[in-house]
């Protein structure tokens, strides 16, 4: 499942569905709203493009790390402290592939998928600066 959505994610259900034939390792990445002295976080996406990019990243990871399953759910909208922002669940035959695939996916999302975060603070709001100024994925 690849999705951008407002609603929360049932991580347990994703893990259950990732237990496919041949799967020996499942890695879950759950990015959550950190309490950096903020009230809540607002997320915005260029949805059509972001979804397409997530699908592309999932396909690349699947091919490069021999993954058996990939789920990526990125949330948008207003999120409270501790809420899930991004859930990545990958299943593979072995842990090396699962860890590698999960890492590849999160780094690729941070580098190039058009999604933005705004921290709503007690003393004003601020956009979270991107890590890759040119919006391009770093070359390996």
């Amino acid at each position: 499942m690849i999705a951008i959505q407002n609603s929360d994610v049932d991580i347990g259900a994703l893990i259950t569905s990732a237990k496919k034939k041949g799967t020996g390792a499942i890695v879950v990445f759950d990015g959550v709203v950190r309490d950096d002295n903020i009230r809540e976080m607002e997320l915005e996406a260029y949805e059509e493009v972001a979804l397409h990019e997530l699908e592309k990243i999932a396909a690349e990871a699947q091919a490069a790390y021999n993954l058996i399953s990939v789920d990526i759910i990125h949330r948008i909208g207003c999120l409270a402290l501790g809420e899930n922002i991004l859930v990545i669940v990958v299943g593979a035959g072995h842990r090396e592939e699962a860890y590698g695939g999960s890492r590849f996916i999160i780094e690729a999302i941070k580098a190039g998928v058009p999604i933005w975060k705004k921290e709503l603070c007690r003393d004003g709001d601020r956009w979270v600066p991107g890590e890759h100024p040119h919006g391009r994925r770093p070359k390996n």
Binding site: I109, I115, W116, V128, E131, P133
Partner: protein, 92 residues
Amino acid sequence: MTIKVRFFARFRELLGTDIVVTAQEGTLLLGLVKKTAEKSREGYDAIFDAKGEFREYVIVMQNGRRMETATAGSTPVSDGDEIAVFPPVAGG
């Protein structure tokens, strides 16, 4: 012809989004975005430098495809195009 200009994140807050612009044949992307951004000094300055070029960190997409901002001054827009302009991404 009509072109849709979409700003995101901070640029959206300053300039709005989903702006439908009427343009003449031969209009170039750089000029189109400039004209659209002129309604807010702060918005314009966030996107363009003193020379009127896209700032180094600005990302531009034409119909969902990233383009080199350096070529925006020679890239024509077409009827029905969607131009997206946004700051560095910060998802995940």
